[in-house]
């Protein structure tokens, strides 16, 4: 009995050690960014790192003094919020209709759109957006985000909508509710978990997207990831301000995910199960 308990304790310790290692591997870069953002220019890129160096907020001051941070923060916020709202308005009814009228070709189309390599769209879009006057506009950036978000949202939400019993909708119709009313009052509240999941994932994706805003945005609509990239100068690499800018750019996403983590976990597990 004692031997069994010893083996059990050792197994458990080993398990947690491995878990800590894995978490450490994923968490380390983030910790490094925090460390670097609080270092002076001398200690920021030092090898080996000076862990006892006095932290400084100069890097953050430099980021704010650069002038564009708040403008870019606003741009990112506007683009992300518009994308999330537009995505839900377009994708939820689409996913609902596909779920209720399940046809193999619809599913194939949704999957196909996700499999397409997005980078192929970059240059054609640049040309098209320029000609249509969508370059350096919120609308253009939202449109580019929606191209990725809509198929993903439809695919993820299918399982949620399929789990809403049809009888519940039929009961609502018999109670006097229209189809649209039933969708809004009955169906959507029942897929709340999925909506929060997709909003969280969408927020993370749209907030962090870099390549398309780099090409499709200009001075007016520059987003935070593009702003952070600006700290990678041609002949100089300022690790401190770069890390500070990156940390400031990451912060809203981290807060958002932490606030919605319960739904996020449920939604991922649910969507994965489907």
């Amino acid at each position: 009995m004692r031997q069994y308990q010893t083996i059990r304790t050792i197994s458990r310790l080993l398990f947690y050690a491995i878990l800590l290692f894995i978490v450490g591997v994923f968490f380390f870069p983030f910790l490094w960014v925090i460390y670097t953002s609080l270092q002076s220019p001398i200690t920021a890129g030092a090898v080996p790192p000076d862990l006892l160096a006095t932290p400084t907020l100069d890097n953050f001051r430099q980021v704010f003094e650069q002038g564009q941070f708040f403008r870019c923060l606003l741009n990112s916020t506007v683009v992300v919020l518009l994308t999330l709202v537009a995505n839900l308005i377009i994708s939820l009814p689409a996913a609902y209709v596909i779920a209720r009228n399940r046809q193999n070709w619809m599913m194939f189309l949704v999957l196909f759109l996700q499999m397409a390599p997005w980078i192929c769209l970059l240059l054609p879009w640049y040309i098209i957006f320029k000609k249509l006057g969508l370059y350096d506009t919120y609308f253009g950036l939202v449109l580019s985000n929606l191209t990725f978000m809509i198929p993903f949202t439809v695919w993820l939400m299918l399982g949620f909508f399929e789990d809403v019993p049809v009888e519940v909708e039929e009961a609502a119709w018999l109670d006097g509710c229209s189809h649209m009313g039933t969708f809004i009052r009955i169906v959507v509240p029942l897929v709340k978990g999925g909506i929060i999941t997709i909003s969280t994932l969408g927020f993370m994706f749209c907030w962090n997207i870099f390549l398309f805003p780099l090409v499709l945005s200009g001075y007016e609509t520059k987003t935070l990831p593009v702003f952070v990239y600006g700290f990678l100068a041609d002949n100089q690499l300022d690790f401190g301000p770069l890390a500070a800018a990156a940390l400031l750019a990451m912060a809203p996403v981290i807060v958002f995910v932490l606030l919605n983590q319960k739904y996020f976990r449920q939604g991922i597990a649910f969507g994965g199960g489907k």
């Binding site: 009888e167 018999l174 006097g176 509710c177 009955i186």
Partner: protein
């Protein structure tokens, strides 16, 4: 309350005809039961009346107004679903009030109606609970309440008790009937349980393969089944159905199987005359086979020797599984009789209650 008329309604799913040329008139305040085996089209028919399924051909009327292509919300019909179909994100109060809110009824009036209905159904204490916090019986009562609050023209029930345990089913059956008697609402009740059909309906419609087999009162259907299917479907245990050959013996008709001979009563002879020397299906209910001749040996009782294969004591009666000349049937006898497995005894069939069915068409001869 309203009359419902279903006029030659057919429903096809691709090539499959789920309901074939179905016609029925339901009077105001009637409680009619549609009963039949799974896949017979009863639920499809109910859903067509509700507007949840389209009609391939035919017409449906509610109170003389045609509703064949009218949307469900405009038909003023309430339905109680098999799996309750309560709104999971709303509490009991909101479930009951939902339809009233859609009609923009004032809040105070909604509160009054909901409270009255909740008290009627005994769910007044659960108004703040969500559906997943309720038992099966409570959920069914909420589903019933949701139908009642609307005061619709017609109530539809789609096997509402099939998810409940046997004891709860009995009490809910009584509750539904009690509410029907109080509200006198026109109701169409669908079930696959023949016992439910017999105890609940003022009129029963038995369906098979989308077609009406018989339409009548429970007593009529039980005592005079129109065909072999109805005879075998209604009654528990079902009617014994056995192949016999009609023979003539000195001017009288007898039903024979091997050396077993049962005398055909005089009043049943005429229709059977054209079946002499032909096989027919003889139907006898278990309660019309006994192990005693009765007082003074009643006319119409034919005796035969049978072997007891199984005895099922049920407390209030005994079911005896018998075998005679390769014919197997069940008798319902007095619980005090001491019969056991392996006995070979004389049994008596009361031929006054015998039903004869054509072997080919399965229609009742007499």
């Amino acid at each position: 309350m309203a009359r419902v008329k279903i006029d030659k309604v057919t429903k096809k799913f691709g090539k499959v005809e789920a309901v074939k040329d179905f016609s029925l008139e339901i009077q105001d305040g009637e409680f009619i039961v549609l009963v039949g085996p799974s896949g017979c089209g009863k639920t499809t028919l109910l859903r067509m009346v509700a507007g949840l399924e389209t009609v391939t051909s035919g017409r449906i009327f509610i109170e003389d107004a045609e509703v064949t292509h009218v949307r469900p919300k405009k038909r003023d019909i309430a339905m109680v679903f098999q799996n309750y179909a309560l709104y999971p994100h709303m509490n009991v109060y909101s479930n009951l009030a939902f339809a009233l809110k859609l009609r923009r009824i004032p809040k105070a009036q909604i509160k009054e109606i909901v409270k009255k209905t909740a008290d009627l159904l005994g769910i007044g204490d659960f108004l703040n609970r969500l559906p997943n916090q309720l038992s099966g019986g409570q959920k069914q009562r909420v589903a019933l309440g949701r139908a009642i609050v609307r005061q619709p023209k017609v109530f539809l029930f789609d096997e509402p008790l099939s998810n409940l345990d046997a004891k709860l089913r009995v009490s809910m059956r009584a509750e539904i009937l009690d509410i029907h008697q109080r509200l006198n609402n026109t109701s169409i009740y669908v079930t696959h349980d023949q016992l439910e059909a017999m105890t609940m309906g003022t009129r029963i419609i038995i369906m098979k393969d989308g077609v009406i087999q018989q339409n009548g009162s429970p007593k009529e259907i039980y005592n005079n089944p129109a065909n072999k299917f109805v005879a075998g479907f209604i009654g528990s245990p079902a009617m014994n159905l056995m192949p016999f050959v009609i023979k003539e013996d000195g001017g009288k008709l007898i039903a024979t199987s091997g050396d077993m001979a049962l005398a055909v009563p005089a009043e049943k002879e005429t229709p059977l005359r054209s079946y002499v020397n032909q096989e027919v299906c003889l139907g006898l209910r278990p309660e019309h086979i006994s192990n005693s001749a009765g007082n003074g040996g009643e006319q119409g009782k034919s005796s035969f020797m049978a072997f007891v294969r199984l005895v099922e004591p049920l407390g209030s009666e005994q079911l005896i599984h018998l075998e005679a000349r390769n014919q197997r049937f069940i008798a319902r006898i007095d619980p005090r009789s001491t019969i056991s497995y392996g006995d070979s005894l004389d049994f008596y069939a009361d031929m006054n209650f015998a039903a004869f069915f054509d072997s080919a068409t399965e229609a009742r001869i007499v």
